[in-house]
């Protein structure tokens, strides 16, 4: 009886634990091993090449473009999604919006529900040189000289993709911040109002300090998302024209499944791992210590 009882907890734990170990941990660890080999998807043979894949990755011309693009995506997303998104949340939750509050919040959130593929295909159209919404609107406003092939121009491609993501995800962060603001005890705000604090003073002295934990979480998921960027680029430019909008995720995919350089892809995976896990650890350390 006692023996049977001891095994009971494992009935609950094992299925999930085995799934995670087998389909998450084993592949991630294998990826480290793969990164030291040359291997192809057509055969099972592999050749040990040491740090060759890493040297190829770090010395390739596209390396700096990718780091620049992923970083650019992170910085702009932080400013627009987290910064601007929080300001919108403060506006929505101010006393002045009244009953329309939830309508605004829900409409802003809708783009985040649409799949990245659908948004990518839609923006292929929005940015298209002849029929696209953006160029058509510019022409209608008499700004013909600003029109261009937004995704086909190596100067504008990555910015066009980043702009698309801001359109899609700013409302998502706004929603998260709205809920955090709603959880701030009303007394604090009333006390501040009695003390004569204006709306800006209230936002900076009361609201933002009280929601800083959520603000940090939003910043972290935004930065991690920026370094895992894949579908947005894949569905619009595939990294082109040239390599101008190349990012780590697409580079990994293309090397693994188009150029048959799976070892190089694995090395790219390790780099993504190091970046995202470092950011996750920062989040855990900072939030656990409670001093945010």
């Amino acid at each position: 009886m006692l023996k049977r009882k001891k095994i009971v907890p494992y009935y609950y734990i094992l299925p999930g634990l085995l799934m995670i170990l087998f389909f998450v941990y084993v592949p991630v660890i294998s990826n480290f091993v793969y990164s030291f080999f040359r291997l192809s998807s057509y055969s099972s043979g592999k050749v040990f090449v040491g740090f060759d894949n890493y040297i190829k990755l770090f010395t390739s011309d596209t390396f700096f473009i990718m780091i620049k693009n992923n970083t650019l995506y992170a910085v702009i997303s932080l400013i627009v999604q987290v910064g601007f998104g929080t300001i919108i949340a403060l506006f929505i939750e101010s006393k002045l919006t009244g009953r329309l509050r939830n309508v605004y919040r829900n409409i802003y959130f809708i783009p985040a529900l649409i799949s990245l593929t659908a948004v990518g295909l839609l923006f292929n159209f929005v940015y298209s040189p002849e029929v696209g919404l953006l160029n058509s609107a510019l022409r209608a406003m008499g700004l013909q000289n600003l029109t261009q092939a937004w995704l086909g121009n190596s100067k504008t491609a990555i910015f066009s993709i980043i702009a698309m993501s801001q359109w899609q995800f700013t409302g998502y962060i706004t929603l998260l911040m709205v809920v955090a603001i709603q959880n701030v005890p009303k007394d604090y705000i009333e006390a501040a109002a009695i003390d004569g604090a204006g709306p800006i003073r209230k936002a900076f002295s009361i609201m933002i300090p009280l929601v800083k934990e959520q603000l940090l979480v939003c910043s972290i998921i935004t930065i991690i998302g920026a370094f895992k960027l894949f579908t947005e680029v894949y569905a619009t430019t595939s990294g082109g024209p040239g390599n101008s909008s190349q990012v780590l995720g697409v580079y990994l995919y293309q090397n693994a499944f188009l150029h048959d350089k799976m070892g190089l892809a694995a090395a790219t995976g390790v780099l993504i791992f190091v970046i995202t896990v470092t950011i996750s650890i920062i989040q855990i350390v900072v939030t656990k210590s409670g001093k945010v």
Binding site: Y10, Y11, Y12, I13, P15, G16, L17, M19, I20, L21, F23, P27, V28, S30, N31, Y34, I88, F91, S94, L96, T97, L100, Y104, N106, I107, Y108, F109, I110, P111, L113, S115, L116, A118, L121, L122, F125, E130, L133, S136, F169, G171, Y172, L175, L176, V217, C218, I221, I224, G225, K228, F230, Y234, G249, Y253, F257, M262, A265, G269, I272, F273
Partner: protein
């Protein structure tokens, strides 16, 4: 008395101006969000010629046949595949996560701290890092290009996060409830099914809905692990569909609309669960 009234009036009119300015700003943002979607809807109802003539003009006749054609020439099949993959994945994500979270919160097992650490650590590992080895693994297991090729990784990658959410909820359930049931002669499984599961419906609903958003829209794994059109889910199916419709833009646009509707509908119907799930977890994607 008079001066006070003047001050009050001034204050309220200043508030009034602020209020109007705020609403103008927020409505401009609404337009910015909705404009691409309205433009998409509008052009999905046109002929190709009309689209090329002026994409800003209203359709002369509303061509709902574009939708019928998109649905008939592929999207229906992709939709069906997404339903199969999503429902099976979801069911197992919820069952496996609930029992794992329960096992971790209610029993002191050997190494439970290590197990908890492994589960939480799973949240930090991204799909891209596992992509190449998973592809090789699925080929070796003869699962490549089957429904299971995406269902198994979906479950494995979503369990950690779901356990994280459920664990917090289970910890808030008072232990006395189970002790009473134990005295009544319930065993551990009966306690789980008859007591924990029924009172955990809200967290199950939240977890189901945010995981649905993930599995319904997932692209990376589906794109690499599903090869034949017959089993593609909506997100990759839509890419293939747009390739097939290269010269038939307006049907393709109708396809984008069809693919986007389910999640928007579910959000509007189950807003509360959606928002709760998103905000307790705060994880994107």
């Amino acid at each position: 008395m008079l001066t006070r009234e003047v001050i009050m009036k001034k204050k309220t009119s200043k508030q009034q101006v602020l209020k109007i300015m705020l609403h103008i700003f927020l409505i401009l943002l609404v337009i910015n969000i909705l404009l691409p979607m309205i433009w998409l809807l509008m052009n999905s109802l046109k002929t190709n010629n009309e689209l090329f003539k002026d994409s800003l003009a209203l359709p002369s006749k509303w061509l709902f046949s574009n939708y019928a054609q998109a649905w008939g020439t592929g999207l229906f099949a992709y939709f069906k595949n997404s339903l199969i993959v999503s429902s099976i994945s979801l069911m197992f994500i919820i069952i496996i996560s609930a029992s794992l979270a329960y096992g971790l919160t209610r029993f002191q097992v050997v190494g439970s701290n290590v197990i908890f650490f492994i589960v939480l650590g799973g949240m930090a590992l991204s799909e891209q890092v596992a992509l190449v080895p998973l592809y090789k693994m699925l080929q070796t297991l003869n699962l490549y290009n089957t429904y299971l090729a995406v269902i198994l990784p979906y479950i494995a990658f979503r369990v950690p996060f779901t356990v994280f959410l459920m664990r917090a909820y289970f910890l808030s359930i008072p232990k006395e409830l189970e002790e009473a049931a134990y005295i009544d002669g319930y065993n551990s499984f009966q306690i789980f099914y008859k007591i924990i599961v029924p009172i955990s419906k809200p967290i199950f609903a939240s977890c189901a809905i945010i995981n649905l958003k993930f599995v319904w829209n997932e692209f990376l794994f589906a794109n690499v692990f599903l090869e034949s059109k017959a089993i593609m889910t909506i997100p990759i199916g839509l890419m293939t569909f747009s390739g097939d419709m290269r010269s038939n833009y307006t049907v393709m646009l109708a396809g984008i609309v069809i693919a986007s509707i389910p999640m928007i509908l579910i959000f509007l119907l189950m807003q509360k669960q959606f928002v709760r799930g998103l905000t307790t977890g705060s994880v994107k994607g």
